[in-house]
């Protein structure tokens, strides 16, 4: 970009979406903890409901604090706007239900977090939306799985838990050739390491609970629109290109060719499904984003050291971290994630489930829990927790073994992390050694 480009991510992370509070001059983003908003007069109320004035009518639809968060993530991702939702899962649900209905179909990477996979594999079919899961590394699988009724391709920027790097330009090209958009879950990369919209993705979602917040205190989700997908030209999205009886007969694509998707979410999904974000959570996530660029650099530095350390251990069968030259996607990662492949990695202990148990139970710094993306280091055992509902075959297909452990490397001093891991490895080696 030229000298006229937008401010740098470090600046946007601190300022985007907010200027000092016009009422009292507060420098920090105020928490507008209110469910409703007083209309100055009846005509103003009618104007808000008619979308002829921007503003807030109900926190279920929008809120000044949440709007700062939406505008901040949109600026960081290079989007046209965003919607804050109650969780990352709510963001995925809203993306799907805004784009399609019963009879439609999704093609998704098979390397997804447990909840996303469950929604697609078991819950949405009950509402008539089917999903075909594909190997994210196989462009031919993505291509072959697309049917006439397919309306979305979906994958995680870094797969879970094998850390497969999604080849966003390649999968986006496959999606666009069939006139459907690509949605990328960018939770593990954050806009500091990758901006999927700049690589060809059309929509991005975040579980803001993870790295964006970083503190692990606030659950939230974000959905960002690139504004590039041409719904009208595609012809496959009547929810965006035909009048909607639920909102003044609005044809969203006619109203705003660029922002039709976000308009429909704001006019339908938020009021009807009601999965809005609490303004308090929005504030907490904003507090986290202020330091995101600094934190991600430190996360990546620690993760690289941890990954290298694990590769040198005799009882570690393999380490999945795209920053390592041994990872199948290393070359892709250096291209698509030049500033680092995140801070989540997985590795396989030779001793199976018992070794994994001994490892986890002897750790003192790493916390055993199912989340990722905390400032604190975390460890989990996918086959007995997040992915416990998968069959043995599905586990194997997702690259999850009985001895697979997932680490989310935090911001503690690297010496303390290595010492803790060595403690776990020693305990595991006693199991392996009998």
């Amino acid at each position: 970009m030229t000298q006229y480009g937008p401010p740098a991510p470090e600046t946007l992370a601190l300022h985007a979406g907010q200027f000092p509070d016009p009422a009292f001059g507060a420098r920090a983003t105020p928490i507008y903890f209110t469910a409703g908003y007083v209309f100055p007069d009846a005509d103003h109320a009618a104007a808000l409901f008619n979308h002829e004035r921007p503003g807030h009518v109900d926190t279920r639809l929008s809120n000044p604090t949440s709007a700062v968060l939406e505008e901040r993530i949109s600026a960081l991702e290079g989007g046209i706007g965003a919607i804050a939702l109650a969780s990352g899962q709510a963001a995925l649900h809203v993306a799907i239900t805004t784009l399609m209905g019963a009879g439609n179909h999704v093609v998704a990477s098979r390397s997804l977090g447990g909840a996303a996979r469950n929604l697609l594999a078991h819950t949405l079919p009950r509402f008539g939306i089917q999903t075909t899961f594909v190997d994210p590394r196989r462009p031919d699988e993505w291509r072959d799985a697309i049917r006439p009724e397919t309306r979305l391709l979906f994958g995680e920027a870094l797969g879970n838990p094998g850390l497969e790097v999604l080849d966003i330009p390649a999968v986006a090209a496959i999606a666009h050739a069939r006139r459907v958009p690509l949605l990328v879950d960018a939770t593990l990369v954050t806009p500091c390491l990758q901006r999927p919209l700049s690589l060809g993705a059309d929509l991005v979602l975040h579980s803001a609970t993870e790295f964006l917040g970083g503190h692990g205190v606030a659950v939230g989700g974000l959905l960002v629109d690139s504004g590039r997908f041409d719904w009208e030209q595609s012809g496959l999205f009547p929810t965006l290109t035909e009048p909607y009886d639920g909102f003044h007969g609005m044809d969203f694509s006619e109203e705003s060719p660029v922002a039709a998707f976000l308009l429909r979410v704001r006019c339908e999904a938020l009021p009807d499904f009601g999965a809005c974000l609490s303004p308090m959570n929005a504030f907490q996530i904003l507090q986290g984003i202020e330091t995101l660029p600094l934190r991600m650099r430190a996360h990546v530095a620690n993760a690289r050291t941890v990954a290298a350390h694990l590769t040198r251990q005799s009882i570690v069968a393999r380490v999945a971290y795209p920053g390592l030259a041994t990872h199948a996607d290393h070359e892709l990662a250096s291209r698509l994630l030049p500033d680092g492949a995140g801070a989540v990695l997985s590795f396989e202990l030779t001793g199976g489930r018992e070794a994994a148990r001994a490892f986890i139970e002897s750790l003192k710094v790493f916390s055993h829990l199912a989340n990722v993306g905390d400032a604190k280091s975390l460890v989990s055992h996918p086959s007995s927790t997040t992915h416990c509902r998968l069959s043995a075959a599905a586990l194997a297909a997702a690259g999850i073994g009985e001895g697979t452990l997932r680490l989310s490397v935090g911001l503690e001093h690297i010496d303390d992390l290595i010492e803790d891991l060595d403690r776990g490895l020693y305990a595991a080696s006693r199991v392996v050694g009998g």
Binding site: H51, P54, S62, A75, I83, E255, V258, A259
Partner: protein
């Protein structure tokens, strides 16, 4: 609404209400590399308050067919044909930036058809900076970045927006990207080449309003003076209103202030 003008399809946004030609008609004209959607808020506001609103996509823009017209005079002729096709005899004409030049030229060219004239972000002449003209011809991404830089206040550059959850500069960049390859260059070329602005202003007789954004860097307030003075033939003189805390992209940055100013001007007695 879809019409055929000079044999080509034209899309016209009507602000969420059906077009009713019996009501006072107001035409809202967008600027370079834009389409009707820049007028969403103001169009819906006027449409709910008793106006029939016509917001066309100019030829070669948005959903309208044909190639972009290369001169302001040609666009003014086209506007006359559009009003004929819509069965509209007289209308208030408002335009933003390039659209303001079309409105100005049309008001001068068809004095019996323009009931009022509203010029937003307007100067005459409207020279376009050479780096922008040349980028529009060779490096659209650079041109879009310059336009965003000069059209939006710093608060918008930083992602703040009156519209909850919307990045105004991101939205504008995508809207410009959606127009055909040559659209921006042709539009800016038409603005740059238009020499008849002051003469047209001198011929205008209908009530006229100039809306100037306080922080406009594309058509700064100080540069509006020659146009304001040339509108000397307007009954009681052209009115000039400043839109505070907004840049050239005032439709997006100050949608309420702009909508209020237009409605108040159109309804004054």
């Amino acid at each position: 609404m879809q019409l055929t003008v000079s044999g080509l399809p034209v899309f016209i946004y009507t602000g969420g209400q059906s077009f009713a030609p019996a009501q006072p008609v107001v035409v809202l004209l967008h600027g370079a590399a834009h389409d009707h959607s820049v007028w969403n808020f103001q169009a819906r506001h006027l449409a709910r308050h008793g106006f029939s609103v016509l917001v066309p996509d100019l030829p070669g823009h948005g959903r309208s067919g044909g190639a972009p017209l290369a001169s302001i005079e040609a666009l003014a002729d086209w506007l006359g044909a559009l009003l004929d096709a819509a069965g509209v005899r007289r209308a208030a004409i408002a335009g933003h930036s390039m659209g303001s030049l079309v409105a100005l030229q049309a008001a001068a060219q068809f004095p019996d058809r323009a009931t009022q004239l509203i010029l937003l972000g307007s100067v005459a002449p409207m020279p376009v900076a050479e780096p922008l003209l040349s980028a529009a011809n060779g490096d659209r991404a650079a041109a879009h970045a310059m336009i965003n830089h000069w059209s939006y206040t710093f608060a918008s550059q930083l992602g703040a927006s009156a519209v909850p959850g919307i990045s105004l500069t991101g939205l504008n960049r995508r809207l410009m990207e959606r127009q055909g390859d040559s659209v921006l260059a042709i539009d800016l070329g038409a603005c740059n080449a238009y020499e008849g602005g002051l003469a047209a202003a001198a011929a205008v007789r209908c009530p006229t309003l100039l809306l100037c954004a306080e922080r406009d860097q594309m058509t700064p307030r100080r540069a509006v003076k020659p146009l304001h003075e040339a509108l000397a033939g307007v009954t009681d003189g052209a009115r000039m209103i400043s839109i505070p805390r907004a840049g050239h992209a005032m439709l997006a940055e100050a949608p309420d202030a702009v909508g209020n100013a237009i409605r108040s001007f159109l309804t004054r007695r």
